[in-house]
């Protein structure tokens, strides 16, 4: 105190201000660290010896994220002569983070967006925020592989390739019944092929004690309302939320008579006790927990869960065997199986990235989609992470240490193979071979998906609200809290809603512009 008193007030003020200034500078330097390192790298990529730094942000389903100390990460940097700066997004928060990132306008050099239909992305594509990659693509042979042709085609925006789609197989993914084969066998039941047979299997699971413990403790089908969306698709004979009419217009299935029947099917099943009592309030993780506990006979999941989840069920019940269904037929004899466009999520390069670097980034993806690079990202290195025995890759202990398999680098660029959706680390041969058979059978079922890759602004603005209302109403009717009359009333009011008309018109127009020439 004595010292400060002697100092002149002016210098004290100066010092305080100086202190504040330095501290704020320090703070801003920390905040700016990310963007600083971005520009530090070799911008032009002209000097071919210097590694190019690339910032990437992408989805990662792994429970543990790897960083640049990982051996495979280093290998990838060496192979592509890059310095990677990857930000992983965990799936539960990805959607919000991506939206906020798009809103901030501060985009990484390789920006991942989960859905092409993202309204902000669509606006930004129109505003020309991203590079048109069409003129460059022909120079990269691996990006032009036959297996990838379709994904490049369907992701074109006004005939231009603005995005690098992330491959994901058309078949094998999506929520569809996964049945306890051992329970079917215990009751001498056939694999169900139609919706009616499926219903009877569920009933038998409830009544005939498939686990043989003498108690009626089985939950035939662990589900929540969201995981039964495919039932509506079976009844409506289409993928997605729209059905193609004979005059090349689209009609929303949300208001269709078939959807009401589908709802009543679920209602009946609920009343017969085929779903858990907490059906209406279960979160997806709770649905899966019930499956893993071994108490449930059916759960909705993608084919790789025959082992991903199947393994956990086997820990509880060693006889357990999870088998995906190939398809289900509705009363008209029309088959349904889930399928989608052969990609999931897209990468974009913002215009602020110089052209030379765009080429470098494409080179990086070219390596990732080459046979060698693609396998490396998923399986690691031969001799280090796996050995080949009888034509099959067998993982070594090092594989677990360097985190090969599903997640991490494999999530950045998926394996170009059905194995991506039907296989899993450690899956036994019999389960794998059966999955191959089933996915091949699924591939024979072609369900039209007219609304895929369509974009309508009215749809984005109004549809989520409308569909939420209907979904809530469905749950109320299914659980007996609302009458079918009030459902009919709601559907009637939606049919007369001018907003719904606007959405339908825009969707039909978008369809005709894209597919009807």
């Amino acid at each position: 105190m004595k010292n400060t008193e002697r100092k002149s007030p002016k210098s004290l003020l100066k010092m305080t201000l100086l202190l504040l200034l330095t501290s704020s500078l320090l703070l801003s330097a920390c905040g700016g660290g990310g963007s600083g390192s971005e520009s530090k790298g070799n911008e032009g990529g002209t000097d071919s010896n210097e590694p190019t730094s690339i910032t990437i942000q992408t989805l990662n389903y792994a429970t543990e994220f790897i960083d640049n100390t990982n051996a495979l990460w280093k290998e990838l940097e060496k192979e592509t002569n890059t310095k990677l700066n990857i930000t992983w997004l965990s799936p539960s928060t990805a959607e919000e983070k991506i939206n906020v990132m798009l809103a901030s306008g501060d985009l990484p050099e390789v920006t991942f967006v989960e859905s092409m239909q993202n309204p902000q992305l669509q606006k930004m594509l129109k505003q020309g925020v991203f590079w048109d990659l069409t003129p460059f693509l022909k120079d990269y042979p691996n990006l032009n592989r036959d297996e990838l042709k379709e994904m490049w085609d369907v992701t074109k925006v006004d005939g231009k390739n603005m995005v690098i789609p992330r491959y994901y197989p058309s078949y094998g993914g999506g929520i569809f019944p996964m049945v306890r084969k051992d329970w079917l066998d215990a009751l001498n039941l056939e694999t169900p092929k139609t919706l009616d047979e499926f219903y009877n299997v569920l009933k038998a699971f409830k009544e005939k004690d498939p686990n043989g413990n003498g108690q009626a403790d089985e939950i035939p089908y662990t589900a929540n309302p969201g995981s039964l969306a495919y039932i509506y698709n079976i009844f409506n004979e289409t993928q997605g939320s729209w059905k193609l009419q004979s005059d090349n217009t689209l009609s929303p299935i949300i208001t269709s008579e078939e959807s009401k029947e589908a709802m009543l099917w679920i209602k009946k099943a609920y009343e017969d006790g085929l779903f858990p009592k907490d059906f209406a309030i279960m979160k997806f993780s709770q649905v899966m927990d019930t499956m893993r506990s071994g108490k449930a006979g059916v759960g909705g999941m993608s084919m790789n869960h025959a082992w991903v989840t199947g393994k956990s069920v086997r820990d509880v019940d060693p006889k357990a065997d999870l088998m995906p269904l190939s398809y289900l037929e509705n009363a008209n004899g029309v088959k349904y199986t889930p399928s989608g466009s052969p990609y999931y999520g897209v990468y974009l390069i913002p215009k602020k990235v110089p052209e030379a670097k765009v080429k470098k980034i494409l080179e990086f993806f070219d390596y990732g989609y080459s046979k060698e690079g693609n396998e490396m990202l998923t399986y690691g290195l031969e001799g280090v992470h796996y050995t080949v025995e009888n034509g099959k890759k067998v993982s070594t202990p090092q594989a677990a240490i360097d985190k090969t398999g599903d997640g991490n680098l494999n999530n950045m660029i998926h394996l170009v193979s059905d194995d991506m959706s039907i296989s899993a680390v450690g899956m036994p041969d019999d389960v794998y071979n059966r999955n191959v058979e089933i996915v091949n059978e699924r591939k024979t079922v072609k369900v039209p998906n007219p609304s895929a890759e369509l974009y309508s602004e009215a749809y984005n603005k109004y549809y989520p609200e409308i569909s939420k209302k209907v979904e809530d109403m469905r749950v109320m009717v299914i659980t007996g809290k609302e009458s079918i009359e009030s459902y009919d009333k709601l559907i009637e009011s939606i049919k007369n809603d001018p907003k719904m008309k606007e959405i339908t018109d825009e969707m039909s127009k978008a369809y005709q512009e894209k597919y009807v020439k």
Binding site: E96, Q127, K481
Partner: protein, 325 residues
């Protein structure tokens, strides 16, 4: 302002410096020069408010724009009151308002007095060891996150696994569907809030009670007042100012219902009674990327909050009570 008040006595008689009548700003400046150290002390706080509170407020203009991240605040086109019109003409507006007000008023009626009652009760406890143990125990739930409380609620009340329903079954009674029943939803929210925050809320009231002059109690005993009389005529009046100020502050956040709790407890069966402004803003604004629209809703909420605080404060002053400002 506070700073000036505290140095008021030092000012004394007008000095030679301020002999000449000065303008308002000139006087302010001479005050600043005289109390410069105090202002330097206040500087970090002032900067904090300017940087983190006042500058962001300017971004509220996006409520009147069709905000696009690419063009930024300066380049986005202006749309006037379009977003407000869309919000108020939305069929859901009345539902949102009803739910928000219902949840808020339930919490005002049941949750707000709960800590007051608890602190009055704690004040009457004789054994200080017992009192302190109880105090510590009731603080604990405050430190649990809403996610945990949702999990506990689910474990207690779900139909298939809930302890409560299992007990009902063991007594041969029907299970009750509590979590997906719209009739119980508001009650459940209020009960959860009380369970979580009642202990924490007592801190400030107990502090007010501690300030009561023991002589007042002695005098009341001399006058033959019983326990209830003492509570009513001595303890409660001593707490009145604190209660009133907290109540005014509470009114300002009348349209804030706590996002996390409701978002976690919400499910398809109760959306009709559970959707409030906060969850709607999240769903439409963040999930669907409609930043301008959700900012408009947020602005509306803030304006209602300001009106409530100002009105409540005016009322308090009119009835001669201590007011907030």
């Amino acid at each position: 302002m506070k700073v000036q008040d505290t140095v008021q006595p030092a000012k004394g008689a007008p000095t030679a410096r301020s002999a000449k009548p000065k303008s308002k700003w000139g006087r302010l400046w001479s005050d600043v020069v005289r109390d410069k150290y105090l202002y330097v002390l206040a500087l970090p706080g002032i900067l904090f408010f300017i940087i983190f509170k006042y500058i962001p407020i300017t971004n509220l203009v996006i409520a009147f724009q069709e905000y696009s991240p690419y063009f930024g605040v300066l380049g986005s086109p202006w749309v006037g009151f379009e977003h407000f019109a869309r919000f108020f003409s939305n069929n859901d507006f009345w539902m949102l308002l009803r739910n928000t007000l219902a949840i808020s008023f339930l919490s005002l009626i049941f949750f707000f007095p709960a800590p007051i009652i608890l602190s009055l009760m704690l004040n009457e406890v004789r054994s200080s060891l017992y009192k302190r143990t109880i105090q510590s125990l009731v603080y604990i739930p405050h430190f649990l996150s809403w996610v945990l409380i949702y999990g506990l609620t689910y474990l207690m009340f779900s139909q298939s696994e809930g302890l409560f329903n299992k007990w009902l079954v063991s007594m041969n009674w029907e299970t009750i569907d509590i979590l997906s029943n719209p009739n119980y939803f508001w009650g459940m929210l209020t009960a959860q809030s009380i369970w979580k925050e009642i202990g924490w809320g007592t801190i400030i009231f107990l502090a007010a009670i501690a300030g009561v002059d023991p002589q007042l109690y002695e005098a009341a005993v001399m006058d033959g007042a019983g326990r209830l009389r003492r509570m009513w005529h001595v303890t409660l009046p001593a707490m009145r100012n604190v209660i009133l100020i907290l109540l005014i502050l509470r009114l300002g956040t009348i349209l804030d219902t706590g996002f996390e709790q409701i978002y976690l407890m919400m499910n398809a069966a109760v959306t009709n009674v559970a959707e409030v402004f906060d969850t709607y803003v999240y769903r439409v604004g963040i999930r669907q990327g409609e930043f301008s629209y959700s900012t408009a809703i947020g602005l509306f909420k803030s304006i209602v909050g300001v009106i409530m605080v100002v009105t409540a404060n005016k009322l308090a002053r009119r009835y001669g009570e201590d007011s907030l400002y």
